[in-house]
Amino acid sequence: MVVKVYGPAYGSTKRVLVCLVEKGIDFETVPVDLIKGEHKQPDYLALQPFGAVPVIQDGDCTLYESRAIIRYYAEKYKDQGTDLLGKTIEERGLVEQWVEVEAHNYHPPIYTLTLQILFASKMGFTADENLIKESEGKLGKVMDLYEERLSKSKYLAGDFFSPADLSNLPFTQRLVSEMGKEYMIRQRKHVSAWWDDISTRPSWLKVKDLL
């Protein structure tokens, strides 16, 4: 049975798609147009009551929240494809820690930058230059902490690629490509090397341009 993934064009969904490719799980994508408001239609809300992307359907199972979906497949298919969760409970603890860091410290400012810089005109509001400056400042501070961590550890959770690294891919790609802020990555030696490593993984190359 093929997993149906809604909203492939968007960053949060791409996290899930990378995970599915890493685990060798077949999927099909269903476009959702957020600008047109398709995510607020009753049919979509029946699947994802908070009106956000992604949502997946796998047989009878409907799941949403990208990091929940990733954890689900990483556990369910532990013995298939890339092992994403570490070998011990302690390693898993570190994976969870750095996923939480991405979710609560990295994602909020980079998401604000994405909306303000890339979507303001499409969504009909004026970009707030102060907010952009403030968010870049916050993101830079988190990147400094990534730099420190990655000077001691090959990947964020340890010496293995995990959801902690994966979760950073989609929005960071937009930061370096479309938002013109590649310097934020290149100014930080270990973040730069880490970025070159994870952004050239076949799984990312396969999903990054999906619409």
Partner: protein, 214 residues
């Protein structure tokens, strides 16, 4: 296994999540107070435990962890056979994963900002900013509507057992229930019953008692 130390404050909502988990699991721990008013969480000694300068930090022998929801996940897994399970009967129950994320990304951002403005700022002698409150309250109501629909079909958020997904809500719900916003919980029968149920748990009562001991 080495003893557990939690570096934090008894009034920190994030630290309370971890205390609740340890009490549910009936696991002894040492509370190492971090004086946030004095800025201790930004000191070099604390930053060594959590480079983000946030409480709580977890210490067990050589293992250091931060981020409350990573810590509770670790405790629940490491001590799976002790105390309350905090997971669903089916080990890979996906709804547990979903509702933990919902708490973290839909409920917490709204509830914690409201609590910050209405409850915490006055305690520290700062003025509540009425500006964001109306919009946040509207968002809270929308989230609670989704919860009401869910809890009309399921005894707890993830399944029919009390899990981490429910437990993670306790610190912010506790604060909200002390404000006028409690009317939004009281007016939704399933949410109201769920709140009454989870806030009456002995482990949570112990977390609140910690505040009185300090």
């Amino acid at each position: 296994m080495a003893g557990i130390k939690i570096h934090g404050s008894t009034i920190s909502t994030a630290a309370q999540r971890v205390f609740a988990c340890l009490y549910e699991k009936d696991i002894d721990f040492e509370l190492v107070p971090v004086d946030m008013r004095a800025g201790e969480h930004k000191s070099e000694a604390f930053i060594a435990k959590n480079p983000f300068g946030q409480v709580p930090a977890f210490e067990q022998g050589d293992l250091y962890l931060f981020e409350s929801r990573a810590i509770t996940q670790y405790i629940a897994e490491q001590y799976a056979d002790k105390g309350t399970a905090l997971t669903c009967p089916s080990k890979t129950e996906p709804m547990l994963l979903v509702w933990k994320e919902v708490e973290a990304h839909q409920f917490d951002p709204v509830a914690s900002k409201l609590n910050w403005e209405i409850v915490i700022k006055p305690i520290f002698g700062m003025t509540t900013d009425p500006g964001p409150i109306e919009e946040l309250e509207t968002k809270l109501v929308k989230v609670l509507d989704v919860y009401e629909a869910r809890l009309s079909k399921s005894k707890f958020l993830a399944c029919d057992c009390f899990t981490l997904a429910d437990m993670h809500h306790l610190p912010n719900i506790n604060l909200l229930m002390g404000t006028q916003l409690k009317k939004h919980i009281d007016s939704r029968p399933h949410v109201s019953a769920w709140v009454a149920n989870i806030t009456a748990r002995p482990a949570w009562v112990k977390v609140l008692a910690l505040q009185n001991k300090q």
